[in-house]
Symmetry: C2
DNA sequence: TTGTAAGCGTTATCAC
DNA sequence: GTGATAACGCTTACAA
């Protein structure tokens, strides 16, 4: 910057002024400065600038794990709107470990980020942390799932409605013995999906045995083992609503392995609509939510706050769409399924 | 920091000294400072520190697209070793657009990052950029694929050997009409895989018609359309080596759609060994490379440089493993495949 | 309109 | 061993 000032024959302050349009610099000098900037390929130090301005152009993003197929899309969504507004993403994985989350939260603050987007880890309670950010004027928005007592901005999918619609679809096809394998119920998204499921079952006045609700982690292995449990029940379910697509994948594997067919013997619906659901056989029906949109919405919300939107906490809920593929079908006739139940009984 | 000094009754400099172990502070004061730090929950400003030290604890990571299933693993690998050494990742997507890459490269420098990990975009030539980083003492390592004229540190998979082994396996099974669908051949990884393929074919003295080599983008759609081309050839291939798993997925779809069976009519081997290859039907054989390891190795290399390793540019090449699943089988007998060829001919 | 200078939170170089 | 103090590169009153 010194060099530019020298090269353009102006003062340091003037350079800054043309850089930030913070004062009208008269024409001869102005172009000289601009040229000097070009000539030297100057880029302002984000560090110095951040230190002085008391905030940087970074947006902290805390997620459980990029490697989990649903999250990259939301990272990408956030990055896209952040980038186009001149912000950069600094990415932190927590592994669902809320002490690691805390470390990131604390350190991230020292970068004076423009904002924070958080997909909370298990059991996280970040009210105090968020408060300290808010006092520094830094927006924090939680997405996908909410920590306990969260009162700040949030963006989530309409989990309840999504689950409700999926379950209703199964019911309309004639299924009466419908089970669900949920994610960890301390996560709000898993809980809400279960609620939607329950409501649909209740409205249809269908019986819902406690064993028909299995809780596990949001992964393939969980879906696999819990499906084994479900299929051993008498009578076994003819349809399974999975808490997410990874679980649904496990369900599919377990069903196939037990000699049953999907969708003839067991219908499956997942949640998230991951790409890999299209290529399974049969392809997976799923409640589709846009991770990308989750990310863009969160980033947009953050930037709006930055630009002065001081309205009370927003809770944006994104629509879901039931994506029907080949993993659902009407149940076999009562007689047939009775036979199947008996057969399994003898094993 | 001021507050700490006051609370501990010492000078600012002393606080800095205990913080950085840059001078031995005697015991009574030392603990007082530490306690004050605890009491105030102090965290040093990474911004100020970076400005002063002339480098931050950030590592810039530039990749084409997190949303591409192979990259999250490498991001995660890099993040893990970076994090455990106190570094943070700042993530940039280029969309394979090398002008966007340039923007990131230029801006990232103003954060004074501790290092840079780059998966180059199409056609990128970052020798000049890298040079400017190197002059600032900042390490740059390229991974997965290399830009033209790259002479700096790199970490890649052994693409040639991987492709060679996959092709050899097909040959050993008895296939003689083996085609390949490559990624964009200006990318080094795509080119190397083709070379490995070629070498295996040549060694086995198998004929290789030019039409049996199809180039496309590294995605499902590319694999799909090029497979349609291949299957219309007379005679059609009985095995296809795909440049990566996304292409292989497209191959599988096209094969299935054309009424042929995999692996009976067409064997398929992909590259990368993505998770989604396990759940397709049939499950996908693939040349397995560890994206995670790619990431950790790159980060480690960077940190080694940081700690004074000034040896000449390293080119680390990671082993691949051929993962056999259900998408490969010996070809049908000559007669049968002749029949098939004739049948397709009539269409 | 333009220049001067203070200060952002650190680290590092010195005297003491 | 400890404490002033300059400097890192920038922004922003304020003075000219």
């Amino acid at each position: 910057m010194q060099e530019i000032a020298k090269l353009a024959g102006v003062s340091l302050g003037t350079v800054s002024h043309v850089l930030n349009n913070t004062a009208t610099v008269r024409e001869p000098r102005r172009t000289r400065v601009l040229q000097a900037i070009q000539a030297l390929g100057y880029q302002p130090s984000q560090l110095a600038r951040g230190l002085r301005r008391d905030h940087t152009n970074m947006i902290g993003m805390i997620i459980p794990d990029v490697t989990n197929p649903f999250f990259p899309a939301v990272v990408r969504g956030a990055e896209d709107v952040a980038f186009s507004s001149g912000y950069r993403l600094i990415l932190c994985n927590t592994d669902n470990d809320h002490s690691k989350e805390l470390i990131h939260l604390n350190e991230l603050r020292t970068y004076l980020p423009a904002g924070l987007i958080v997909i909370p880890s298990n059991f996280s309670d970040l009210t105090t942390q968020a408060e300290s950010y808010r006092q520094a004027g830094t927006g924090v928005v939680c997405i996908d799932r909410l920590p306990k007592n969260w009162s700040g901005d949030s963006v989530t999918a309409d989990n309840k409605a999504g689950a409700y619609n999926a379950t209703r679809h199964l019911i309309r096809l004639g299924h009466t013995r419908i089970a669900t394998i949920t994610g960890p119920l301390h996560l709000t998204n898993a809980k809400e999906r279960l609620e939607g499921f329950r409501r649909a079952m209740k409205e249809a006045k269908l019986p819902l045995a406690p064993e028909y609700i299995q809780e596990t982690r949001f992964d393939k292995q969980g879906g696999y083992s819990k499906t084994q449990v479900l299929l051993r029940l008498i009578p076994p379910p003819t349809a399974i609503f999975a808490g997410n697509d990874m679980i649904a994948l496990g369900v599919l594997l377990a069903v196939r392995e037990s000699g049953l067919r999907c969708p003839e013997d067991v219908s499956i619906i997942g949640f998230d609509d991951l790409d890999l659901g299209e290529t399974t056989n049969p392809s997976l029906s799923s409640v589709s939510q846009s991770g990308y949109q989750l990310g863009t919405t969160a980033a947009r919300l953050l930037l709006d706050r930055k630009e002065g939107d001081a309205s009370p906490a927003k809770h944006i809920v994104l629509e879901t769409v039931l994506k029907l593929r080949d993993s659902v079908a009407p149940p076999l006739s009562r007689e047939t399924s009775g036979t199947r139940a008996r057969r399994r009984n003898k094993e």
